[in-house]
């Protein structure tokens, strides 16, 4: 019997001695807030868990999870977007129907809107009020709305019903332009909501309108993804310019079948957009047709966010199973110059 027990005991001892793990495994890394976030780049990551990362203006330092570092709490999922108004940043998380309000420079929480929202997406500001696009019940195409926020009390003071799947929201003059990407489905309208009124006009565009910017010529530029082939009926994507005075389409630049624009930003008087073949193109306000040659071919796995400032292009290479990466490119040389870690599902890049 001894002959057998001996190796067994030895094996036991060996197993347990191998098991002495690194005891410091969970001593949490204490990250002291760098202090002011008044300049620099903010990256929001959808999650879960969601988080916000900060990259300094000169790209020399970065800090992850700044909201948690300052406030010792998490934001909840999924972090859709951040809107900025004066000194405040409004962080929109959809599943918990919450907008968390922080000081954009210190990131200290100053309040929250927790009632009256249902799957909120984006926030914009006009005449001292906040306007938030909401999907409502995503399976119900008729309950979508814009929530009007009283910024003094941080409460929803009224709602404006709109079509299915309101997404981005952009304020200009006395109007709010809302792109309807369609939520769980698909849609092809821009709603025009007039301040202090429930009157809503619509402009028909190509399918799945998403990002919008005002260019230096005073035109509203809308990126319409079009329906992808996997949806069963592929439709054309486009970049559409709209006259904001009379709400009509000025020009509609359609992409060929098989190529769909995903992301767009505006800087240096140029429009920059990324397409489904993961290339970046640029276009001036005066251009009358889509560019045919790209300025950059990305090698990212999943390009989920893009922003341009000065001569820098920022790209979010999102991962949902590990940390994401933010890549910085020099537009003049079309080369990558920096990279930073960001949270899970990094999606939006803002310049603070």
């Amino acid at each position: 019997m001894k002959n057998i027990l001996l190796p067994v005991v030895a094996l036991l001892l060996l197993t347990f001695s191998c098991s002495s793990d690194d005891d410091t495994f969970y001593e949490e890394e204490v990250v002291a807030p760098l202090g002011a976030y008044e300049d620099g780049i903010l990256v929001s990551s959808e999650g879960g868990p969601s988080s916000i990362a900060f990259i300094s203006e000169d790209l020399s330092t970065s800090e992850n999870t700044i909201y948690y570092n300052v406030n010792n709490e998490d934001l909840g999922v999924y972090l859709q977007s951040i809107g900025f108004n004066n000194d405040l940043a409004y962080i929109v998380t959809d599943s918990n129907n919450t907008i968390t309000i922080v000081n954009r420079n210190t990131f200290e929480k100053v309040g929250a809107i927790t009632t009256g929202l249902e799957l909120p997406r984006y926030i914009s500001f006009l005449n001292g009020k906040g306007y938030v696009s909401n999907w409502g019940d995503p399976n119900d195409a008729t309950d979508d709305f814009i929530a009007v926020i009283d910024l003094a009390t941080n409460t929803v003071e009224s709602t404006v019903p709109v079509g299915e799947g309101p997404e981005r929201i952009l304020a200009n003059d006395n109007k709010l332009f809302v792109s309807h990407k369609g939520g769980y489905g698909s849609n092809n309208i821009i709603s025009v909501v007039h301040a202090n009124s429930t009157v809503v006009n619509t402009i028909t565009v190509n399918d799945n309108p998403d990002e919008m910017i005002m260019n230096n010529s005073g035109q509203l530029v809308v990126l319409c993804g079009g329906k992808e082939a996997w949806s069963g009926t592929e439709t054309l994507g486009s970049i559409t310019k709209i006259n904001v005075t009379n709400n009509t389409v000025i020009s509609n630049h359609e992409f060929p079948m098989g190529v769909h624009p995903n992301l767009m930003d505006y800087g240096n008087g140029n429009l920059y957009f990324q397409t489904s073949d993961n290339k970046i193109y640029s276009m001036t306000d005066a251009d009358t047709s889509l560019p045919t040659t790209s300025i950059l071919e990305l090698t990212t796995g999943y390009t989920y966010g893009m922003a341009v400032k000065d001569n820098r292009l920022f790209v979010a290479d999102a991962s949902f199973t590990s940390q994401s990466e933010i890549l910085v490119y020099d537009l003049s040389t079309a080369t990558q110059t920096h990279s930073f870690d960001a949270g899970i599902g990094a999606s939006k890049i803002y310049f603070n």
């Binding site: 067994v8 793990d21 999943y302």
Partner: protein, 616 residues
């Protein structure tokens, strides 16, 4: 395929003719009372742990609670009572097969069983079979399989058990079951109900588990009847209806609601001739879920699958030492659901299991299976296993197998994203076990290696469309220790059980540990009884896990280890003849530890439960 089936049938007839006519009384008894004979008779080289009697009675009624404290399997639970999935030997949740009376019941939609939708009350035993079992149990039996078994007793008896319990968070439990029988027939019937507000506080915060209420009803009915001296007809039926509000995370409370309905029926006819037995099983399974995004909405998404299984099998015993089981099964799956239309598929498989007991000390098995599926091709799977008793107290077990897991209906048909080009995951493994056993104690040591390729992973493609692809490969290896001991001393009775496992499970390319697989997991329980009093204490330790693939240690990327302990007491108030009445109490999470098994989803604080137990 036809050839293989024909061959099996021809073999069946030939062997049937030449088989000798000796009937091993133990085997015939197995065939009468057991629903899954191959679990016992065709696995000499596999580690099988059987939980029954007092273990089933004193533990939690959910399969998660039972196994977390009484096996080597690691669980992650989306909060108490919510979706729960196992990791068996470092494999993922759809690589553990759950077998109900010999029939695989993992969901055809996601490939998994939610271990919180299995109520353990009415099973006579629950067996944990470690290692690959695809030959015997088909798709998904890669890490191992969990067997829920009902047995039918053919002798005059009449027993009824009633249990009533009440505990923290307004938790109510109640069950009643009866077993009646004679030499020719046997009936088991049982009903169990659980309900809880489940609104426990999140320790260390001011929040509580809102939207976590659940209730479920489990009905079991099993019948057996000897049509003639050699033919027994059995019917097993189980019915589970669950309603759960799905709780959210600390920062994101949820409002969703989920309904489960599972119906399982099995009719089995066994012919018990001496050397050549045959059996026909016909089973129908239905799984059905409804998901509501909010409490107020009437909109829901749903999925439903009907499964029909027809399985004739033939058992030959050429001598006391050699036996062979061949079977051909036909399975038809019909699904419908919000996100995948109405796909269906059919599957035919041919299986041969051979067991040879060379001597009292040495036996081995060789097993083969080939599946033919309407929508993709399956590998030929095999297993070989052997057991050798070195001495009276020490034996060795060795098995090697190839196993597989087929793509689920979600993987293939989900819109958008489903991928019709998927092929089954393929896995090879070896497992070496040593067993020391003495009258009062038993110790098992196992080491294993599992290599799986063509793993199906959902990931976003370049345009952000999530789609499953056969992309990853993993390898798992580790060591397990399982120990049991019991001591009677005058009126004192002690029972000790313990498990420890060390698991490395990594992506073959990145060499990173898979998420939610702890390197270390251990548990032990001590039961003590003295006259009218019974006590138990159980403790589980789960090591740190990574929650993201980059294996970073931090608040958002890993979860710390945790310990959780439960304490229970039972006192017999009345005991006369067949009538017993006892009162019990349990304290769960005795030391009031704050822990999470899934990130940001806290588990309950210390909580209490009292139970009244009446048997006649």
């Amino acid at each position: 395929m036809k050839h293989i089936i024909c061959l099996l049938l021809v073999l069946s007839v030939c062997f049937g003719g030449i088989a000798q006519t000796q009937l091993d009384s133990i085997q015939s008894l197995d065939e009468v009372v057991l629903s899954d004979v191959k679990l016992k008779q065709y696995a000499p080289g596999f580690k099988i742990e059987v939980l029954k009697d007092s273990v089933l009675r004193t533990n939690a009624q959910s399969l998660t609670g039972l196994l977390a404290f009484n096996s080597n399997i690691y669980f992650k639970e989306n909060g108490n009572g919510m979706v729960s999935s196992p990791s068996f030997r470092g494999t993922n949740a759809s690589q553990t097969a759950v077998i109900w009376n010999g029939i695989p019941i993992n969901s055809q939609l996601n490939g998994q069983t939610d271990f919180n939708t299995i109520n353990t009350t009415h099973y006579n035993d629950i067996a944990i079979r470690s290692g690959g079992g695809s030959v015997q149990y088909g798709s998904g039996a890669i890490g191992g399989s969990i067997h829920l078994n009902n047995t039918l007793l053919f002798k005059p008896h009449f027993d009824t058990t009633m249990r009533l319990g009440y505990g923290s968070y307004d938790t109510k439990t109640g069950s009643v079951s009866s077993a009646i029988g004679s030499d020719r027939w046997s009936v088991n019937v049982g009903l169990a109900y659980n309900a809880s507000e489940n609104d426990y506080p999140y320790l260390g915060t001011t929040k509580k588990n809102v939207n976590g209420a659940y209730n479920n009803l489990d009905l079991n009915l099993n019948l057996g009847y000897f049509i003639s001296d050699n033919d027994v007809l059995k019917l097993y039926h189980q019915h589970f209806i669950g309603n759960r509000d799905f709780s959210g995370t600390v920062a994101t409370p949820s409002q969703s609601h989920y309904e489960d309905k599972n119906y399982r029926s099995l009719i089995e006819w066994s012919h018990l001739a001496k050397a050549f037995n045959y059996q026909l099983k016909v089973a129908h399974l239905q799984e059905h879920f409804k998901y509501f995004g909010t409490q107020s909405t009437s909109n829901f998404s749903y999925g439903k699958v009907n499964t029909l299984i027809v399985k004739p099998s033939f058992n030959f015993r050429f001598s006391r030492k050699i036996k062979l089981q061949t079977s051909v099964d036909y399975t038809k799956y019909d699904a419908e659901g919000t996100s995948f239309g109405t796909p269906s598929r059919s599957n035919v498989s041919a299986t041969a299991l051979l067991n040879h007991k060379v001597s009292r000390a040495f036996s081995y098995g060789v097993n083969l299976r080939k599946d033919f599926t309407s929508t993709f091709s399956n590998p030929l799977v095999f297993s070989v296993d052997t057991e050798y008793a070195v001495t009276k107290h020490y034996s060795l077990q060795l098995n090697g197998s190839r196993n597989y897991r087929v793509p689920t209906f979600n993987d293939l048909y989900w819109q958008p994203g489903g991928n019709l080009d998927l092929i089954p995951e393929s896995s090879y493994q070896v497992d070496l076990g040593q067993q020391l056993s003495f009258g009062f104690a038993q110790l098992k040591l196992n080491g294993y290696f599992i290599k799986t390729s063509e793993l199906i992973v959902w990931k976003p493609n370049s345009i952000g469309l999530w789609s499953p692809v056969n992309i990853a490969s993993t390898q798992s290896y580790g060591a397990e220790i399982e120990g049991h001991a019991e001591v009677h001393f005058k009126s004192h009775y002690f029972k000790l059980d313990g498990h420890y496992s060390y698991t490395v499970s990594e992506d073959t390319n990145t060499k990173k540990q898979l998420i939610y697989v702890p390197f270390h997991k251990a548990n032990f329980s001590i039961a003590y009884s003295y006259k009218k009093l019974a006590l138990f204490f159980q403790h589980a330790f789960n090591g740190d896990v990574f929650t993201t693939e980059d294996n970073l240690k931090g608040r958002l990327t890993s979860l710390p280890s945790y310990d959780v302990s439960n304490l229970g007491l039972e006192y017999s108030l009345y005991n006369k003849g067949n009538n017993t009445l006892s009162l019990g109490g349990t304290i769960n999470n005795v030391f009031n530890k704050s822990y999470q098994s899934v990130a940001f989803r806290p588990m309950p604080n210390r909580n209490f439960n009292i139970q009244l137990h009446y048997k006649f």
